[in-house]
Symmetry: C2
Subunit: 321 residues, 2 copies
């Protein structure tokens, strides 16, 4: 009665009697016992492989988390969260899986060379990656980073910019950083502009890295006429660097970001940026994981969500994209 089993062969009277008594007794099923007997913990884990302080600044992550929490609630699951440093990712999350503490895993930011991933595959443990990992046989959810950046950089070119600098969102060891850089190259090439390694800098998730790299870019002569920054959070630091030296945005230098975090419209100036559906990414990551757990067939092993460029004041002209 309590579990609403499908093949219910129970008289309505008994049913009500059970329900009533359960309520009267304040009965709540014991989660551990359920998990033990059913071999399902009804919880999943979000594992973020990142330095903690880099998590703290990442409002994109928070938005994604919201989507996950929402999905988890609709599927009646619990969300466990773990943040582990890139160094000791060894088996940190393996224990979660092996101990059956969770039914599935959502991994954000692991790298290809992670040995633990291999173990996950061998045990056929339900896992969804945030961001694609080449050659990894995992379900993943992502956006087309390369195309999204190409489109945004093309916009800058269309506005007349020619010396377009680029700051990555993260070290180049991260797949997303590589993809975004490729998108930048694509756009340059398409416009017949030469790629200049010297206009590229490497951010590291936080504003401080953006500040530093932008300062470095500003020493170049002639100065870049615009800059694409592959993370809004990093862009916040870069903006500060430009303000520091009295540059006007976009008159002196145009800026385009990536992620469209919630404060992007409130920055000074409001930031033109590539919009990512953060919440939806989180939501569908959970959805995919649920299917995996239920052993249903996934229509798509790698889902890609749409992005679009949001034009605000930081890049000048209010052109339609």
């Amino acid at each position: 009665v309590l579990n609403n089993v499908a093949g219910a062969q129970i008289s309505e009277e008994t049913r009500q009697r059970v329900l009533l008594t359960a309520k009267r007794l304040g009965y709540v099923p014991n989660a551990a016992a359920q998990a033990l007997a059913s071999k399902r913990s009804r919880s999943i884990a979000l594992v973020i492989v990142r330095r903690p302080y880099q998590v703290a600044t990442d409002s994109f992550l928070t938005q994604m988390l919201n989507g996950m929490v929402s999905a988890v609630q609709t599927y009646q699951l619990r969300l466990l969260i773990d943040i582990i440093e890139p160094e000791h990712q060894e088996k940190a999350y393996l224990e979660l899986a092996r101990a059956n503490r969770v039914d599935g895993l959502i991994l954000a930011g692991p790298s290809n060379d992670d040995a633990a991933l291999q173990t996950l595959v061998e045990h056929n443990f339900p896992t969804v990656l945030i961001g694609e990992l080449p050659d990894a046989p995992f379900a993943s959810i992502d956006v087309d980073n390369r195309a999204a950046v190409a489109k945004a950089v093309a916009h800058l070119i269309r506005l007349g910019h020619r010396r377009i600098a680029f700051i990555t969102n993260a070290p180049i060891s991260y797949g997303a950083a590589r993809e975004r850089l490729l998108g930048y190259k694509d756009a340059l090439e398409l416009a017949g502009l030469a790629f200049d390694e010297y206009l590229v800098r490497y951010g590291d998730f936080d504003p401080e890295s953006g500040y530093r790299q932008m300062k470095s870019l500003l020493t170049i002569s002639p100065r870049p006429d615009s800059v694409f920054i592959a993370s809004d959070v990093v862009a916040i630091g870069a903006l500060a660097a430009m303000h520091d030296v009295g540059l006007r945005i976009p008159e002196d230098i145009a800026v385009v970001g990536y992620d469209d975090i919630l404060i992007a419209p409130y920055l000074h100036p409001p930031l033109t940026t590539v919009h990512l559906p953060a919440g939806e990414l989180g939501f569908s990551a959970v959805e995919m994981l649920v299917q995996l757990i239920r052993q249903e067939n996934l229509e798509m092993l790698h889902v890609r969500h749409e992005t679009h460029l949001v034009i605000r004041a930081s890049c000048g002209a209010n052109t339609i994209n």
Copy 2:
């Protein structure tokens, strides 16, 4: 052997044999079984009572989360996270407790009139509140909001400001918002300045509310010469409103925020703000909860952390506090 029991009366040889075989077999204890037998799930939950989108913008929350994750790792616990809308807070987290899914609860943002809190008390369930709740018999972790704001506003007064506006961090139904407003009044009173209800506006966690309330404040004539905003995130919106109408900060209007979120130094201009030790708050919330779970006596039922004013460009003169 595996559990490293205290009264260990085991020959070193056997010990090694056990350890070795366990490793060879790839043995990992089943979490559910452990939880069932020991009546301890070794996990705790963080419950945030807030609209999801308001969580997404709140980088202060993220910083606190970091501290919690760190503490949870040192105590070998797991962290479950739940975000529930203020409306149906009814028993949402009660089930977590009653089902013994978690050993303890950290509650952020609940209000006094929450009936579920009462149940928690009755069942004597280990619970720590983020922020104090008057009359609630719960352990809590907080800062002295009132004194912190008073100090910051006093700083503005010392700089010569007289028409100091105030924007709350949240609706006044929140205790923290009330306390901070009281601190503002304290400072005014101490300086012999009249409190003017008309200079007070109510923020609502996000930048949009700050933008809106600041716009409203700017219609006042004569214009306020400064504004204290009881949340950096809300302040981001307020800054945008000031930029919109071409005000120079701090020349035309001085701004002081609250929280000292990680991007505060990178705002334009860098934001003077009350520093809260977000990570430490999170960390010690977990520590307190652990003591509660272990049934140890808490030295202090209500712990208050220190704050200090961080002077940056947004308030003008670079005075020592």
